[in-house]
């Protein structure tokens, strides 16, 4: 699985949505992405990439695109 595929499945599996819904997806756009969903998403990303995210990065993760930027810049995940 590529990093992008791993990244995408963290979202689709956590929120029960399709890949086609990911572009532009933001916090609270869908009911499943509330604070409970947010922590599950963080846990899924940490597991998928074997990382520990910093507090600031967890609260910065406000959209599908923002998360990708954080992982690329702070955790050396190449997409």
């Amino acid at each position: 699985m590529t990093n992008l595929e791993k990244y995408d499945s963290a979202f689709t599996e956590t929120f029960g949505i399709e890949r086609g819904q990911l572009a532009g997806l933001k916090y609270q756009d869908i009911e499943a992405w509330d604070s409970v969903g947010h922590m599950s998403l963080t846990a899924a990303l940490e597991e998928a990439f074997d990382i520990m995210m910093e507090t600031d990065d967890i609260i910065d993760l406000s959209s599908y695109e923002a998360g990708m930027k954080i992982l690329a810049e702070k955790y050396n995940v190449e997409f």
Binding site: G16, E31, D34, S35, V36, G37, S40, T55, I58, I59
Partner: protein, 467 residues
């Protein structure tokens, strides 16, 4: 209820858009809302963490108008049967949701006259109606009196030593009894409410927290699990003085962890115990006992009294013996309402509440909740009535159903005939809780005793196995 005049120039509310409102402005604007609503009547309030929402609530409470509090996110399909059951004269709701006969609006909220012509008579002591069940649309509400609310707010202000320098930040919905008690107790002392719709998992929340200098917040057990996973302890929050916890039992490990964090950073961590039926606060663990008594929900609040009732109906006198927790105090609500006709009823509980929680006390008189008598779970601080959930699922899908589990982890057992994902999504939608809280397991049959009772002990092995 509150004397806003006493705090004239104090700031009453600040929201995350920077709007500030003094107590004299609050008095002025709430009076205008009350005047538009006219004489004592019932109003459905669709709540959010915004100035308009808080102001409407304060206006109604101060003017003897009875609010029934719901989330602004309630499903329309659940709202209309409630309207039919209680026949409110008005709705106070976000202006962008307002339809029909809008008679007044302020701060993004509107007062809308409903089409009901015959109102239900209201008992003179009745102040407020709150739901016990989150958002399942159950018509059961707790009837709280003015004395209940005022007495409890005073008691809270006393044991938390609240004063006008406090700045609690909104972390709990105001249609939720715990969230509302924070508003009630802080208005009493002239403090400043900080309102935001952002969640603790969002950067904007913490920006507002720091800019506005929040001094306290409340959280349910899940809130503290979440903060722990976010490594909250590493954040620099110099303005923070007090963290309170209620809405279910926190694990002793997490209790100790936050108590130690509080001790090391010069803050207070206060575990509390309450129920909507007690308007809501009944117990608290003083901050200086947080480490020594971690796992305990503490002692009765000022003016209240706990005792334990054994199976034989007698009061338990010895420590470490389990009995049902009973609370006595002026904040015990008047009773329940299931429909509009119940609103004329007086006090049915006489200041005594059987909590349904099984508890023990230790040698020093500190109480520990050890179990629950009734069939419900607390999920993210919300009570989920399992029998009601089963009934809703059976009404929607052609299956047998029994739900069980632990707090924050509901296990729904069904027989074949429905897609487990559909059942899970249905449970999440009707309870307005994140689907993560629900696990659906399909069984050949629901295990039952010879007399037809569900064998929950048989089911327990399933959720213990998935841990």
């Amino acid at each position: 209820m509150w004397n806003f005049d006493a705090f004239g120039n104090n700031v009453a509310i600040i929201d995350d858009s920077g709007t500030r409102l003094t107590y004299s402005q609050l008095k002025h604007e709430t009076e205008a809302i009350a005047e538009a609503a006219g004489k004592r009547c019932l109003v459905f309030v669709l709540c959010s963490d915004t100035i308009g929402s808080v102001m409407g609530y304060a206006a109604f409470m101060n003017a003897g108008i009875v609010p029934l509090m719901l989330s602004r996110h309630i499903e329309p399909g659940l709202l209309s049967p409630l309207m039919d059951a209680y026949r409110p004269k008005y709705m106070w709701l976000p202006s962008d949701m307002a339809r029909g006969d809008e008679v007044f609006s302020a701060r993004g909220y509107s007062l809308v006259r409903t089409s009901f012509t015959e109102e239900c008579p209201l008992h003179p002591d009745l102040a407020l109606l709150l739901t016990t069940s989150g958002s399942t649309g159950s018509p059961k509400f707790v009837r709280q009196s003015y004395t209940n609310i005022l007495d409890n707010a005073k008691s809270i202000a006393e044991y938390l030593r609240l004063d006008e320098t406090e700045r609690p930040i909104s972390t709990l919905p105001m249609n939720y009894t715990y969230g509302l008690s924070i508003i009630n107790s802080h208005f009493l002392v002239g403090a400043t409410l900080l309102l935001t719709e952002k969640a603790m998992t969002q950067k904007e929340f913490w920006q507002f927290f720091r800019e506005a200098g929040a001094t306290s917040f409340g959280g349910v057990p899940y809130t503290y699990e979440m903060l722990d996973r976010m490594r909250f302890q590493r954040m620099s929050l110099p303005s923070l003085r007090t963290m309170t916890q209620a809405g279910g039992k926190i694990t002793p490990e997490l209790h100790r962890k936050f108590a130690e964090y509080a001790r090391d950073s010069g803050k207070n961590f206060i575990v509390m115990y309450g129920q909507c039926e007690a308007s809501p606060r009944m117990g608290y663990l003083p901050a200086d006992k947080a480490i020594e008594k971690a796992g305990s929900m503490g002692i009765a609040i000022p003016g209240g009294k706990f005792r334990l009732i054994g199976e034989d109906g007698r009061e338990i006198q010895a420590p470490h013996v389990t009995g049902e927790l009973e609370y006595t105090g002026k904040n015990v609500a008047m009773g329940y309402a299931e429909c509009g006709d119940d609103l004329s009823k007086g006090d049915e509980w006489g200041g005594v509440l059987r909590t349904g929680d099984m508890a023990q006390f230790d040698e020093d008189g500190y109480f520990y909740v050890v179990g629950r008598k009734k069939r419900f779970l607390k999920v993210y601080g919300n009570r989920v009535n399992l029998d009601e959930l089963d009934r809703l699922i059976k009404g929607k899908f052609p299956v047998e159903c029994a739900s069980a589990g632990e707090d924050d982890r509901v296990h729904i057992f069904i027989t074949a005939g429905a897609n487990p994902d559909d059942v899970r999504n249905f449970a999440a939608t009707t309870t307005k809780l994140n689907p993560k809280a629900f696990t659906v397991i399909t069984l050949d049959e629901i295990p039952k005793s010879e007399s037809g009772k569900t064998l929950f002990t048989e089911l327990a092995k399933y959720w213990r196995k998935t841990e």
